[in-house]
């Protein structure tokens, strides 16, 4: 059954994608050849597949879609942009439902009502009032109604921390004669949270009452497992419906947890490659036993050292190869993220009444799964900004002499082991004057500096922390820009954001980041008793200077390096750790701060290492000043510092 389901997931998405393609083409050209038939076939096939699985609401929606397409085909309804758009809306919802089914195995609780809404909307275009489709089986609606009625009692239990199970027990009228006692059964339900007992039919008057005819309808909510409950009701499975209560989150909540897929599809060839590498690693490992034997014979230490180095070199190479091979396994195409973005742009554009042509390129570009997951939110932000603040409403575009349809493009491509993603729009662009005004109001820079800045440089200020350009906070993009959040996320992934914009012409944002979780070279430094790692790429140089060369300047310190005076800060002070008494030469890392170079004094430099930077997760994810952690050979954890954030 699982295989069949997997097959359905793949085919279903392909069919939705095909139908969507065709409808988008029809939206542009109502008579585009072949497109109508293509959409019709895809919807028809999809409707058929859905019927095999327990996805009745989706079936209802697709049935209505097919009905609408049928009336268009028979010329009873003219093909129109409205028809195409409504069908696209239906397919978008089906796509979202596929996402939910993939995660949780069943449709969300509001699927039946949502399906009815879609079906009614589709059929309204044909002139048919009531959807003449099969009634949606009640199994989903009773659960929703039960939860609603019991919401105060269930209260905070519904938010996903407790898995709940809903049971509907409809005893047969003659169940008493079978020796059943529904009340005993209910009394035996573990972890009962809510119970409702009603009359199935109206009670007869007492004179005609048959006490041995069971007329009860029982619904309850329990915290026990489905399995336990099925066990309890095992003798009467035909009289009970048991269902796990699904998540009540809104459909498209792009929460990071909701997004990460729990499994990846892997090409068998990649596993074979890994196996080969493991084989070679085993051979190298065996070599160490021989080296040890060699050392015991007391031969010339230099020779032994040379042999050990050779083994280390071979291991090094193999580890690198394995790292690359595993990273390759984790690579996924950006296609899934791009697909969601396409849906969102379509909805947004409709909601805000913008005429936008959204093109996507390079969705087959592969990146590490973690990178793909992390990229979604920044991309969403950038795309929303472009639709909301970039592309102008039709009247404004006409007034500016621009073609009525705005262009938004999202393109990704690989550049070596990096990827480049560009989001371009031909909208209103960013107004440097407005940026300057807001930067002044938010006191990001002093007024005179703002004045003397070039326009291109001024526009970059939107990346500054605490910046917002939307005068009204729209519910679409929240705070207008949030570019500082985008910048932070991309930089945490080891990448860079850049932006260029021309007022009146449009904006282009590019993201460049490593496609994989690369190995980072770090420099280990000691501050007091503790060690920290500093990414080597942030260090311009490291110097040792005598203490006497450090000069007090105002409240701080400075030193001279090759005829330039640089400010100096103590890392211990920046981190808030205790400073050790300074003796001997000062050891200083020269780094590039936001406003020129400065020196950061540490107690000592240690080795350079290649490490895998693991970003912080959960509560620690947004701790400033720390890019991540890594494990050292001795098992200790090393914090990798983000000097840019520490210096501020």
């Amino acid at each position: 059954m699982d295989d069949l389901f997997e097959q359905f997931m793949i085919e279903g998405r392909e069919l939705i994608s095909k139908a969507t393609d065709d409808l988008v083409a029809l939206e542009k050209d109502l008579l585009a050849p072949g497109r109508f038939d293509g959409a019709f076939r895809a919807v028809h096939t999809l409707k058929g597949s859905v019927a095999i699985f327990d996805l009745a609401p989706m079936g209802v929606a697709l049935h209505a879609a097919e009905d609408l397409l049928e009336t268009v085909r028979s010329a009873a309804t003219p093909m129109s942009v409205a028809v195409a758009q409504r069908l696209l809306g239906c397919l978008d919802q089906c796509d979202r439902w596929m996402d939910v089914v993939e995660e949780s195995g069943h449709l969300p609780l509001d699927a039946p009502s949502e399906a009815m809404r879609i079906a009614t909307g589709l059929l309204a275009l044909t002139g048919v009032r009531e959807p003449a489709t099969a009634p949606i089986p009640s199994n989903q609606t009773w659960i929703a109604n039960l939860l609603e009625r019991q919401s105060s009692r269930l209260g905070d239990m519904r938010d996903g921390t407790r898995a709940l199970v809903a049971v509907r027990y409809t005893p047969r009228p003659d169940c008493f004669f079978a020796g059943d006692d529904p009340i005993s059964l209910v009394g035996a339900v573990p972890e009962l949270f809510a119970l409702e007992i009603r009359a199935r039919d109206d009670w007869p008057p007492l004179e005609e009452f048959d006490p041995y005819r069971c007329n009860l309808l029982i619904e309850l909510v329990s915290g026990a497992s489905e399995a336990d409950l099925r066990q309890l009701f095992r003798f009467i499975p035909d009289q009970v419906e048991i269902a796990a209560v699904g998540s009540l989150r809104p459909n498209d909540a792009p929460g990071p947890l909701a997004e990460s897929q729990r499994t990846i599809r892997v090409d068998a060839q990649q596993i074979d490659r890994l196996l080969d590498l493991v084989g070679e690693l085993v051979v190298t490992k065996n070599g160490f036993a021989q080296l040890a034997a060699l050392a015991e014979t007391g031969r010339d230490p230099k020779m032994i050292a040379a042999a050990i180095r050779a083994a280390q070199g071979a291991t090094d190479r193999l580890v690198g190869d394995m790292h690359r091979a595993v990273m390759n396994v984790r690579m996924v195409p950006l296609e899934r993220q791009f697909r969601r973005l396409t849906r969102m742009v379509r909805e947004l554009a409709q909601r805000l009444d913008r005429n936008i042509s959204f093109t996507v390129e390079g969705e087959e570009t592969r990146v590490d799964k973690a990178v793909a997951d992390a990229l979604f939110e920044p991309l969403l932000h950038l795309v929303r900004n472009a639709v909301d603040h970039g592309i102008e409403p039709p009247e404004a575009r006409a007034a500016a002499g621009k073609p009525p349809q705005g262009h938004l493009s999202l393109a990704a491509r690989s550049l070596g082991d990096q990827i480049l993603i560009e989001i371009c729009d031909d909208g209103a662009g960013i107004d440097p004057a407005r940026v300057r005004a807001i930067a002044a109001k938010r006191e990001i820079l002093p007024a005179d500096r703002l004045e003397e800045m070039e326009d291109e440089a001024a526009v970059q200020l939107i990346f500054a922390a605490g910046f917002t350009t939307a005068s009204a906070i729209t519910d679409v993009s929240g705070r207008g820009v949030g570019m500082d959040a985008v910048k932070t996320t991309i930089e945490r992934l080891g990448g860079r954001v850049s932006l260029s914009s021309k007022k009146g012409s449009g904006t282009a944002v590019s993201l460049r980041l490593p496609a994989t979780a690369a190995l980072t070279t770090v420099l280990i430094v000691r501050v007091g008793e503790e060690r920290f790692a500093i990414p080597l790429e942030t260090v311009v140089e490291s110097v040792r200077i005598p203490r006497s060369a450090i000069l007090p300047v105002g409240l701080g310190q400075a030193f001279v390096l090759r005829d330039r005076t640089l400010p100096m800060l103590e890392l211990s002070a920046l981190l808030g750790t205790s400073a050790t008494i300074a003796t001997g030469d000062a050891r200083i890392l020269v780094v590039d701060g936001g406003q020129g170079r400065l020196g950061i004094a540490v107690d000592d430099f240690s080795e350079r290492l290649d490490v895998m930077l693991r970003p912080m997760t959960g509560l620690l994810a947004h701790v400033p000043g720390v890019s991540g952690t890594t494990l050292l050979g001795d098992g200790s954890v090393l914090l990798i510092l983000n000097l840019g954030e520490i210096v501020g």
Binding site: L195, R198, L206, C214
Partner: protein, 80 residues
């Protein structure tokens, strides 16, 4: 006796099984409108549905499961 009538009130005590439904119905048909559940540990589904249909006034403290979950149903507090 699990079903007993006294002074206009039906007393249900101990474990009321399916066989108690008929006597109870007879009491209700005779016009009794009060039921005391003090000391009642369990009522069979047949007895419960009679109580739901007849809607008598309930007094007394039955066992915990009954008082937390079942009695409110009879008094109609939980009707949808």
């Amino acid at each position: 006796m699990t079903v007993a009538a006294d002074n206009g009130t039906v007393f249900l005590t101990g474990c009321c099984g399916a066989e108690d439904a008929e006597p109870l119905l007879k009491h209700f048909q005779a016009g009794l409108k009060r039921v005391d559940l003090g000391g009642c540990d369990h009522i069979h589904g047949a007895v419960l549905q009679l109580l739901m249909a007849a809607r008598p006034a309930i007094t007394g403290e039955p066992s915990e499961f009954l008082s937390s979950w079942v009695i409110p149903l009879i008094s109609g507090l939980n009707s949808p």
